[in-house]
Amino acid sequence: MKRKNILLAAVIIAAVFGFRGLFPDTANNIKAAIAGVFSRDIDYKEVFSDLGNAVPAFLGREEKEEDYTEVLKSDESFIIDYAQSGGERLMSEMAMAEGEEPISLAELPDAVAAFLESQQQYADLDLPENVSYEYLSLPFEKCAPVAGYNSSGFGYRTHPIHGDVRFHYGTDFAAWSGENIYAFADGVVTHAGWSDSYGNYITIEHSDGWESLYAHCSILYVENGDAVCAGDKIALVGDTGMVTGPHLHFELSHEGIYTNPEYYWG
């Protein structure tokens, strides 16, 4: 092969990566724009995964179980006890804080009432230890982190095909790959990096012990220690980590106890 061709090839490779190194922001924007175009029609990662999962069926065996590990891996303690609690009702657990009178369903904000009603079918199950269905009002201004719709909610969920019940520690918001993700409220970034299950993710610490988490991002715009305001662009939607489609997995916790993000937005 001609030396000239090899040289030209090397120059092109160097140019593309040099551009990325010198102008990372522009490069990232271009990348997000192009990725957005491609993900708008067909979710290729999911197509390939489905093709792979169809192999056992094609060979005459049972089709492979869809990968639901995104739900499992959203928290370390993903082993759920199905201990019979003797009929402990979710509503009274929420309302009986410090000996108060039980709040009737009619007094709660709409989102809370709707959620509690949807979880009634799991009333026999204990809540995981670090979870609460209590509605606490936020002590700060908030902003919707992404323009997307709730594709998978917080709480117990029944697998649509296999029927097993698992707990989801956050809310999934389906959105196009490359959509902006904004900080939920003012705070400080306590983590911005990678995990095998969350992919590229960010955690932000807000005031009064509140913390939010944004997972499966494609690109992160903040670093550990950055101060952010509600509405600041912190990342772009992606499908990194243990997922098959682009979405924002959003978690909200107060002093280490997971709460339902849909109470405040959804």
Binding site: N5, V16, A35, D41
Partner: protein, 179 residues
């Protein structure tokens, strides 16, 4: 595997760099074993049937094997079919460990193999078509590539499936350049 020269053209380098640049889900990394296994299938059987391999290059339209001789008979058929066949076997084996990386890599390999079996020159399917139908294969293959393009164009307008149109265009250009 003997002495096989691996090359890269400037166009191939550009495509590869853009691919790496755009890829954030490691899809490209998952593609590598799939492509390698596919090409090894071709190379293995080409050598088995006495064809000489001069080089393997990454060009503007993908990996291309430069071999001496004319593909015909059982040897030709086997050498062409071996690529997609190896790819499908790899794709099936990938599902054994329950890992996301291999699951998707296997899926990509299956997609690659099935795509290559399209009867469009110079895809593997197109070459098989030529083996079976001779010169008429050229017309048939041209017709099919145009039909695919037309369908993709309609779908892209109706449903907004742009990436399908891009692939169909690539296929049409690839076909027109090689007849």
């Amino acid at each position: 595997m003997g002495r096989v020269k691996w090359l890269i053209t400037p166009a191939g380098a550009l495509l590869l760099s853009i691919g790496i640049f755009l890829d954030e889900s490691n899809l490209l990394l998952m593609l590598v074993p799939a492509v390698l296994i596919h090409e090894c299938g071709h190379i293995l059987f080409l050598k088995l049937f006495g064809y000489e391999i001069r080089s393997v290059g990454i060009g503007a339209f993908g990996l291309e094997i430069d071999y001496t001789g004319y593909l015909e008979g059982l040897g030709g058929f086997a050498s062409i079919a071996a690529g997609p066949l190896f790819g499908l076997i790899y794709g099936a084996c990938c599902q054994i460990p329950s890992k996301e990386f291999w699951n998707i890599s296997g899926g990509m390999s299956i997609a690659l193999s099935l795509f290559n079996l399209l009867p469009v020159i110079p895809l593997d399917g197109g070459r098989l078509l030529m083996l079976i139908a001779g010169e008429r294969g050229k017309c048939i293959s041209r017709g099919i590539s145009m039909a695919i393009f037309a369908i993709a164009a309609i779908l892209s307008v109706a449903k907004g499936w742009i990436s399908l149109l891009i692939m169909a265009s690539w296929l049409l250009i690839y076909n027109l350049r090689n007849i």
